[in-house]
Subunit: 547 residues, 2 copies
């Protein structure tokens, strides 16, 4: 038995979000389909049935596994199918189309670094693509097998899921890369500590995946990106293991960890990391504030982020987004503003934040400080509805693909000076394309993460389509969005990584000389170019510099 | 006339800190010498006279300047002498020994990027070492010419000293790399903005230098390193110009700016940067708190840094350091705790900080919030004395070299869990070596910069010696300190960069495979390996990977 057990010893659904023993009722699926259909003017959406393993036709594995690796590698159908796709709309649609034309050949479940290194050696000797896999939640084609290789091996870190060491004095822990969000927090809890990094994929994404993709998590400001929580990394590369010194800060050369953070498996496999932790939250204060227009509230939020208040939550939903999450009635933009601390009451921070909102015409719907029950208020009303939806929604996202509509999100970041102009133009272009292509649909957005110098807007797109056209409509609309982002000087991804999906726009965003530097760095640790081919770089990028 | 004018059009002293028109009286020098002598038990220190240009014997320049570059390059004696050394104790001692055995051959003062590129082309064609120079304040031999080259060209960015563009909405500015601290702030002031990055070298160090060396500045916590204030860089390399997109945040591959931050001129020349700014300080609150022992206060400070209070100042001097700065009587450790904001009163933050100190046995000497004049209190008493000394001291540091004692500082960073053990051991080793070598002397330390996971202690060493032995004694003691840091798992530099001085210990600190990656990256933009040879890397590091 080489199948991944994971920390909880339960098997995941191979075609959608959640564990096998979690039943999503047909009533729930139907309700979701009707709700989405209603928004798009589709009366009776046809929801495809979940695919069964028997329905999937799979190419034979092109690789035979040597005896020395057979205790933790296999080519079983379930394993290959369940590691073929991530969780994007495109992935889910391909799953519902029962399209598995390019599955990986072998899935490896190493239990330690020696086994990781052994797999890389084997891939190097045979020219197989070596593809690291954390929780499988990629929405950017971040671990799909390359089309043009003779064999691909997915390296699933799920068995490396332990918190190995806790340093309560410096508030850090050494954590294995395959640890998923819930088990990571379960293991830290007895120490009174938390990483408090909670992307929407938290249940089924891993520490190593967060680092390799520059994930953003819980904090709206200050500690948004996982980048700033990494103390030091350990990475197994085809040429050997790199371990960076555990330091709170240094000026000794370029920060070595930063080259691996965001490397998307192209340089090696992050096996463990010393992470900087937080004390568990004791004090909370939060408020729900509405604004008549999205830009009115955005101005308030800009001032808050530039005031040095560091709200933990500063989620700002436009009227449509708020309505969808049950956090508003669809007439106003809604700001969920929250402060938290393990050390001291945060009422003063909230008061100043609310004051800034009121100066910009914001209307306070609820406000709860230390006099009230801020934990309760964060889990009820607009705040609670949003929280519930945010956490539960991934379980139902496959419904969108199964009902033949187009449904996707994209995120970016750009500076405040051009925020209104760029946001307006992005929405205009996507809306127009949507109308031309599908006859209608919705584009809405929110802020999840914010910087003093600019917001990271997150756009949601839903449009009517059919089972025959949804994938093509998705691609066309996604391309319009990506072109707009790229041309308007924003970034092609704020926290979903580049993957295969956004590679053409990454190539426009990154300076070609920096890409050459990255290629030179890669070549130093991956001379056979086996690591996750196509991520960020191609071999041709390197050939260019060596001539 | 190709001599550097700089923003203020004044010429600097070539042998010590300050402008030529700033007269340091012999009385002042004498007072400093007597003060230091008294601490070390030297009755009548012999202070050498300032060197004159006539006294310096200089090798002929080995390079003839082509006509196309002659409008901004020269080989004049003043220029070559004034660009031979930085400002370390070792540099100043060599200057007072009139030892200029390896001067640069040409000093270039490019006025724009085209001229920077032209110099790099010329160096590449001829195999000259191309060495970027900002303010010349290096204390780690960061721009001295390599011994083994046939010609070296210092590229002084002093004429590229303008704030080119200000974006008040996103609170950012595009600033040329050669801009020194005071002119940078002078140019930002009319916009109500500030970079607020104030290393001790501020008057004579440049934006490009801060970025290339990962300088630390004003902020004790949160925005300590310049790294976090960079929005995007522009770098001229021998293979062309790299410009990174101006983004508040991104998840698109490894952050390209981070590879240049701390690259010490080894990858190219940073010519300009979009920097993230702050609003000018309106609200202040501060307190002076004493502790009976250094470790008692360190425990309080750890709690403050982990509480998310983000003090702007959290300078903690041990009893000896405090006495030296006129901030204490030598019996207690002194904490200068300060909060500041452009947006809101910071009394609550200070109150909580003070409360934590009191919980750890700290005694409040002064405390000034919005009810008092916190600006005044930050510029009088212990706070004011420290501030004055900190700012003025560089003007007198040459006195140490001129009087034949040993005087140097070193900084590092390591995690809180081992703080007491490592600190004790570092002090034990240096003290013992000092006693054995020079018969006595002082080792004291302070915290300037702090992280939730560890402090960045800064050690000062002063020891009696003679004009004949001071350099050798310095080197022996510095080596003991560097060995201790390296062996005890700390970093060889927190904010002074590696330079030539600490290269052997950097080579122990950095993972050899990461160094190979850096070499691969360098080779992609500097194929002739002309950029600041010997900084971080040697050509042999690259030959190893290409075989």
């Amino acid at each position: 038995m080489t199948e991944q057990a994971g920390y909880y010893g339960k098997r995941r659904k191979w075609h959608s979000w959640g564990y096998e023993d979690e039943v999503i009722s047909q009533a729930e699926v139907k309700e979701m389909a009707v709700r989405v259909g209603k928004r798009l003017g589709i009366d009776e959406p046809v929801v495809l049935s979940d695919p069964t393993l028997e329905e999937i036709e799979l190419r034979e594995s092109r690789i035979s596994i040597p005896a020395s690796l057979s205790s933790f590698c296999n080519s079983d159908k379930w394993d290959r199918v369940s590691h073929s796709y991530g969780k994007s709309f495109k992935d889910l649609t391909r799953i519902f189309r029962r399209d598995f034309t390019n599955p990986p050949d072998v899935i490896a479940y190493p239990r330690n670094e020696a086994e990781v290194a052994a797999v890389l050696d084997w891939c190097g000797d045979n020219g197989y693509a070596a593809i690291p896999y954390g929780g499988g939640s990629s929405v950017t084609d971040g671990f799909t097998a390359p089309e043009d290789c003779d064999g691909s091996v997915i390296i699933d870190l799920g068995n490396m899921n332990q918190v190995l060491e806790v340093d309560p004095v410096s508030r850090c822990a050494l954590i294995q890369a395959g640890t998923l969000g819930p088990s990571l927090e379960d293991q830290l809890k007895p120490h009174g500590l938390t990483l408090r990094h909670i992307p929407q994929s938290w249940e089924f994404s891993s520490l190593g995946g967060w680092i390799a993709t520059r994930s953003s998590g819980h904090y709206a400001t200050h500690l948004t990106h996982i980048d700033d929580m990494v103390q030091s990394l350990r990475v197994v590369t085809p040429r050997g293991t790199i371990e960076n010194r555990r330091l709170p800060g240094s000026g000794a050369g370029p920060d070595p960890d930063r080259l691996f953070i965001g490397s998307e498996g192209s340089l090696g496999i992050i096996t463990q990391a010393w992470m900087k932790l937080q004390g568990r939250v004791v004090f909370r204060a939060n408020a729900t504030i509405t604004f008549d227009t999205f830009y009115q509230g955005a101005a308030a939020i800009r001032q808050i982020t530039q005031a040095g208040l560091f709200p933990a939550n500063c989620r700002y939903l436009d009227a449509q987004d708020a309505q969808f999450y049950g956090a508003g009635d669809g007439t106003k933009s809604v700001l969920l503003l929250g402060f938290e601390s393990a050390d001291h009451p945060v009422d003063v921070w909230l008061e100043r934040g609310v004051e800034i909102c009121q100066d910009h015409g914001g209307e306070v719907v609820t406000k709860t400080g230390s006099g009230g029950d801020a934990l309760k208020s964060s889990r009820s009303g607009a705040q609670g509805n949003w929280r519930e939806q945010f956490r539960y929604l991934p379980r139902l996202m496959h419904t969108r693909a199964a009902m033949g509509v187009v449904s996707f999100t994209f995120e970016t970041a750009y500076t405040w000076d051009k925020f209104e102009a760029v946001d307006t133009e992005i929405i205009r272009r996507v809306s127009e394309a949507q109308k031309a292509l599908t006859g209608g649909g919705i584009v809405c957005r929110r802020f999840s993460f914010l910087y003093p110098d600019g917001p990271a807007p997150y756009y949601s797109v839903v449009a009517p389509s059919t089972h025959e056209t949804s994938l093509e409509h998705y691609q066309a609309l996604s391309d319009v969005a990506s072109d707009a982002i790229s041309e308007l000087g924003a970034t092609i991804t704020h926290h979903h990584a580049v993957g295969r999906s956004f590679r053409p726009w990454y190539d426009k965003e990154v300076d070609p000389l920096f890409r050459d530097m990255l290629a030179g760095a890669k070549n130093a640790v991956d001379p056979d170019w086996i690591m996750n081919p196509g991520m960020l770089l191609d071999r041709s990028n390197h050939l260019k510099i060596v001539g």
